[in-house]
Symmetry: C2
C-alpha cells in the first residue's frame, strides 16, 4: 500500500481527533494554493488554473461564445445590423464560467477548497445597458429585438460620428483631459458608445439604469456587488484618479439628456486595479464548482493584465503585445503627456504608478495582408512542399539579408496611424522598389516598418519622461518569428525578451486574484510580489547587434522624415486619396 | 491552260520583238513595286516586303541571331565577360540578310526585279571597331578572344564610368551640346563605349581604323560604301547638323589619345535621315537574291523608323513606342531644349524637322515585374482556368474600377527616371496601401503611374515649345491592353491611336527604301509622301472621357508633387537607399 497523504498516515496510526484536527489544518496550509484567471476575449473565454506559489499553470480550458461576435443580425429576432456594428450576448460570458472553471478543476485534480481567488480580464470597452439589479436589457423580451439593448463589443465601430463629436467638443472647450488621451478619443470608447445609444435609441438609453463595462458586469455577477475598476474607467471612460470623469456640463453640451450619465448610470467609486471587488456568491460558486466567499479581483483590460505576467510592473520595462495590431504598455513615476499615446492612467496598469498605453493600428495584419495579397505562387508552393507556413518561408528568405540590402523603406500605416499621429486617414507606403525587388524583400521591409513605428513610440515616450530600457513581448507573433524579434531589437536598440506564459493575460488575472485573496488566505500582499513569484520571461533574449543598429539608425532617420512629411501636414496626399476614393464610391 | 502573266499572252499571240519589248516595259511599269525593310533587333533580324503603292505588307520573315546577346563568355575562346557587358557577332547580321530576304521574296511570290529599294533600321548605339575596309576586328583571329574587339550592343552598360566622366567633363566645361541631350549622356551611347575600349584595351582602340554604328556598318556591307547617318550620329554620338561632333579639345580632355577620334575613326560626312546611302553591290545582291544596283537607304534607329509608319511626320503628333520601356518621339519646327529629353536632332526623325526623343525607363517591365512578383495564386489560377493571361485577368478586374477608387498613387521609377529627371538612382513608390488593397488595385495604379510619367513628358515638351496634340502608339502593349490605352487617353487628355502595322519599324525602313529609290524607280520623292501612302493608323481611337480626365487631373497634381519631392532633391531618400544597399552588398 502506497501512502498517498497525511490523511492516510493519520488513519494508519489511529491518531486522536484533536490531534487529527490539528493535522488537518496543517495539511491544508501545506497544500498548494491556487487562483483562477478568467480571460474574456473576442471569440471565447478561457480559464487558467495557477499555482499561487510559483505561477505554474496547472490547467486551462477554453469555451467559445455560443453567439460569437454578432455583426449581421440579432439572434432570434433576426433584426439586421448596420455596417461596423459588433455586439455580444452577455449570457455567453456566464456560459464560459459554467464550462471552463469546472473543466480546469477536474483537469488539474485540484480541490476547490484550495482555490483562494479569482481574477478576470476582459476586452474593453465592451459595455452594456442593464437594470439597477444588473439584468442586461437584452435579456428583457421587450428589448430583445433592439440592437442597442445588447452588449457593444470593443470593436463596434459604428460610434465614429459620436467619437468625432466628443473630440470636436473637447477641443473646442479645451478639456484638460484630452491631452492625456493623445488628443483624440476613439469610437471604441465608453462615451461614444453611450452617446450612440442615446442618439439612435433614446428609449433604451432612458430604460438603462446602468451603463457598465462587461468586465465589471461579470464581476458583479460573481460577487453580487456592483463595482467599477480604474483600468477600464481610466483607459476607456476618461476617468482620472482624483479628478474623476469629465464634468456634467461637458456631457450636457454633448447631449442635454446625457448631463447626468455618470451620476445616474455609472459610479464615481472606482476600485484601484486588481483590488478585491468582493467575494464569490453561493450562486456563482455553484456555477463553477468553487467555494463561496473566495476573493474576486476587480477586472482588468486583457492587455494590461499581461504586464505582471511579464514582470514589467516597474518603470523602464515596456510590454509589447503583438498580434494583428500592437499594444505598448509601460509604467512611469509621473503623469506626463506624450503625443499619440492612447492614455495615461494612474493605477491603470499596477497600483501606485502611472500606466501608459500606446499602440500601432496594424502589424500582424500588415504581414497577413501581404501574405494573402502580395506573394506569387512559387513561394506558396515552396512552403507547401516543405510543410511550413508561408510566413515561415518568407521569414527564412528575408533572414538571409543584411539590413539595408533590399533597398526598401515602408510606412506601416495600412490601418492608419494609431500612435503619435492618431490619424486613421493615413495609409501605407513602400518606396525603393526596383525591377529586382522580391516578395521576401517586401516582407522584410514591412517588418522593419512596424519596428520603426515602435521605435517612434518608444522615443516619444522617453523624450517625454517615460523611459523604456527593455522590452518584453507577448502574443503569438514573437514566438513564431525570430527575424521579427531580432529586427525589433536592432531597430529599437533594446533587449527584447518574451513573457514566459503563453497565456499572459489569464496568468495576470490569476495574479490579481491572488492579491485580492491576500496573504492570510495564501495569496500576496501586492501585485509586485505576485508578479515576482508567479510571472517570468523566457530564457531567450534578443540582443541588438551593433552593426545592424548602425544601419537601422540611418534607415530610421529616413523613416522619420517620411513620417513627418506625410503625417504632419506637409503633404496630405494620403488624405486626399482617401477622400477621393470616398467621393468616387459615393458616385 | 490558265493564263498566268502578260508573258503568256505575248507567247500565245506571237507578238513581234519590238512590240514585245514595248510590252515588256509597260508590263514592268504596271506591275507593283516593292521595297524591303530590314529590322535589326536585339535578338533577331526581320525582313518585311512591302508594296510601295499602299504599304501593304506582302511577306515577313524573322531570323534569330545564332550568337544572340553575348553576355557571359565569348564564342570559341570562352573568355568570360564582366557584369553589364552585352556583345554581338556582326556576322549574325549578315546571316539575317541571307535568310530573311530570300524568304520574303519566295513567300510573297515577288520577282526580285520589282524590288526597287532597301531600308534598314537598327538598334543603337550598337557599335563596333573595324579595319579601314570594314572588316570587324572580331573577325581577325588575333583579336577574337578580346572582348573589346566585338560589337557592343546598345544594352552594354559596362561603360557607365566612362559616361559619368563624359557628363562630368561636359558640365565642367559648359559644353553647349549637353543641354540638347537633357543634361546627361548615357552609358549606352557611342563615346562612352569608345572610351571604354581605349581605357580597357588600348591596343584594340589603336588597331581600330573605324569605330562605327552597326547600322552604318551593315549598310556599308550592302553598298560597299562607308557612310554615316544623322539619326544615330545625332541621338547617340552628340552630332548636331551644322555644328558637328564635340570638338577635339573636348575629346583630348577626356583622354589624350582620343582627341582625333572623329577625324581618324569616324566621319564628318553625315547623311540626312533616310537619304540614299548607295546601291546594292553584286555580292550583297547575291546574298539576298536581289538585283544589284537597287537603292539602299541610310539606316535609322528602330524606334525612329516607326514615326513615318504612324503618319506622324509633322509636328504635334507624338509616337509612343510601348514595350518594356517607352520611347516618345515627336518632331518640332524649332530647336528648343526641354529638361530630360534624350535628345533633339535636326533631321533626326524626318528631314527638315527637329526630332525630339524622350523616354520612360520602364513601363511594360513594371507590369511584368508585378505579374511575376506581386500577384497571389488565386489570380494565377483564375487566369489559367479561363485560358487567359494574368495580364488580361488583372486588366479585366482593374477595368471594373473608376479612377480614384483604389486610393493608390505610384511613382513609376522601378528602373529609375529616364525622362525629365534623368536619374537612374530613383526608385519605385506606392502609397495609399490599406488592408483592403488588392492585386488589381495595384496593377491599375502602376498603369496609371506610367501614364502620369508620359503626361509629365508631354507637358514638359509642350511648355518648352514642342506641342503634342495627338498620340499614336506602337509596340505590343497597346494592342493587348485596352484599359491601358483608355487610361493614357484620360491621363494625357489626348486622343490615342495605334499604328496600323504590327511591324512599324520595318515598315518605316521600307518607306525609307522607297524614298532612296526615288520617283523614277517607282518610289517616292520624300518620306512625307511615303508616309502618307504607305503608313496608317488603326480605326480604333481612344478618346478622353471628361469625368475621368477631371479625376486624373487631381491625381496628377499629387503625382507631380511626389515627383518633385523625391526627384528634385527635396528628399533624396531613394538615393540614400540605393547607396546603402551598395554599401551593404560590398560588405
Amino acid at each position: 500500500m502506497r501512502i498517498r497523504s497525511i490523511r492516510q498516515i493519520r488513519v494508519l496510526f489511529g491518531l486522536r481527533l484533536n490531534r487529527y484536527q490539528f493535522w488537518k489544518e496543517q495539511e491544508a496550509d501545506m497544500r498548494s494554493k491556487y487562483t483562477i484567471g478568467i480571460d474574456f476575449g473576442t471569440e471565447s473565454g478561457r480559464a487558467l488554473l495557477v499555482d499561487v506559489s510559483d505561477g505554474r499553470e496547472v490547467a486551462t480550458s477554453v469555451f467559445t461564445y455560443p453567439h460569437g461576435v454578432i455583426d449581421r443580425t440579432l439572434p432570434e429576432s433576426g433584426v439586421s445590423l448596420e455596417p461596423d456594428w459588433a455586439l455580444q450576448d452577455p449570457d455567453d460570458y456566464i456560459q464560459v464560467l459554467k464550462n471552463v472553471v469546472p473543466a480546469v478543476l477536474a483537469q488539474g485534480g485540484v480541490d476547490s477548497a484550495d482555490v483562494i481567488g479569482i481574477g478576470v480580464d476582459f476586452t474593453a470597452c465592451t459595455m452594456l445597458p442593464t437594470l439597477a439589479d444588473g439584468t442586461p436589457l437584452s435579456y428583457l423580451p421587450a428589448y430583445r429585438d433592439r440592437p442597442h439593448a445588447w452588449t457593444k463589443l470593443w470593436k463596434h465601430h459604428a460610434s465614429q460620428p459620436e467619437a468625432d463629436r466628443i473630440n470636436q467638443l473637447a477641443e473646442e472647450r479645451g478639456e484638460p483631459w484630452l491631452e492625456l488621451y493623445g488628443g483624440k478619443t476613439s469610437s471604441e470608447w465608453f462615451f461614444a458608445k453611450a452617446l450612440q445609444i442615446l442618439n439612435e435609441d433614446p428609449e433604451i438609453y432612458h430604460k438603462a439604469e446602468r451603463l457598465i463595462e462587461a468586465g465589471d458586469w461579470l464581476v458583479w455577477q460573481l460577487t453580487g456587488r456592483e463595482t467599477r475598476n480604474s483600468c477600464m474607467a481610466g483607459y476607456k471612460a476618461l476617468w482620472q484618479k482624483g479628478e474623476g470623469f469629465p464634468a456634467p456640463d461637458f456631457f450636457a453640451a454633448l447631449h442635454p439628456e446625457m448631463a447626468d450619465i455618470v451620476q445616474t448610470r455609472m459610479s464615481e467609486e472606482i476600485l484601484p486595479i486588481g483590488h478585491k471587488a468582493g467575494e464569490l456568491t453561493p450562486q456563482a460558486a455553484a456555477w463553477m464548482g468553487l467555494k463561496p466567499g473566495i476573493a474576486v479581483a476587480a477586472p482588468v483590460i486583457d492587455a494590461h493584465c499581461t504586464v505582471p505576467s511579464a514582470q514589467a510592473t516597474r518603470p523602464g520595462i515596456m510590454v509589447m503585445i503583438m498580434g494583428t495590431s500592437v499594444c505598448h504598455l509601460v509604467v512611469g513615476e509621473e503623469r506626463v503627456t506624450a503625443p499619440g499615446m492612447s492614455g495615461v492612467v494612474e493605477d491603470g496598469i499596477v497600483p501606485g504608478y502611472f500606466g501608459y498605453e500606446a499602440g500601432q493600428g496594424a502589424t500582424g495584419d500588415i504581414f497577413a495582408w501581404f501574405v494573402k495579397n502580395g506573394v506569387p505562387p512559387e513561394y506558396h508552393q515552396a512552403a507547401r512542399e516543405r510543410g511550413i507556413s508561408l510566413h515561415q518561408l518568407l521569414e527564412e528568405e528575408a533572414a538571409k539579408q543584411r539590413p539595408g540590402e533590399h533597398g526598401l523603406l515602408a510606412l506601416d500605416w495600412w490601418n492608419g496611424n494609431r500612435s503619435t499621429l492618431v490619424d486613421a486617414e493615413l495609409s501605407g507606403l513602400i518606396l525603393g522598389l526596383t525591377l529586382a525587388t522580391t516578395a521576401p524583400d517586401i516582407y522584410r521591409a514591412l517588418i522593419e516598418s512596424t519596428a520603426f513605428g515602435t521605435r517612434e513610440i518608444i522615443e516619444t515616450l522617453t523624450e517625454n519622461g517615460v523611459p523604456v530600457h527593455r522590452i518584453v513581448t507577448a502574443g503569438g507573433m514573437p514566438e513564431k518569428n525570430r527575424l521579427l524579434m531580432q529586427i525589433y531589437a536592432d531597430v529599437t536598440n533594446r533587449e527584447l525578451g518574451m513573457v514566459r506564459s503563453g497565456q499572459g493575460a489569464a496568468l495576470g488575472a490569476a495574479m490579481h486574484g491572488a492579491v485580492a485573496a491576500g496573504v492570510d488566505a495564501g495569496g500576496y500582499a501586492d501585485i509586485f510580489t505576485a508578479s515576482e513569484r508567479m510571472g517570468g520571461v523566457k530564457e531567450t533574449v534578443y540582443r541588438p547587434i551593433p552593426e545592424n543598429v548602425a544601419v537601422y539608425d540611418r534607415l530610421y532617420a529616413d523613416y522619420k522624415r517620411l513620417y513627418d512629411y506625410f503625417g504632419r501636414g506637409e503633404n496630405d496626399v494620403m488624405k486626399r486619396l482617401r477622400s477621393l476614393r470616398r467621393e468616387v464610391l459615393a458616385g
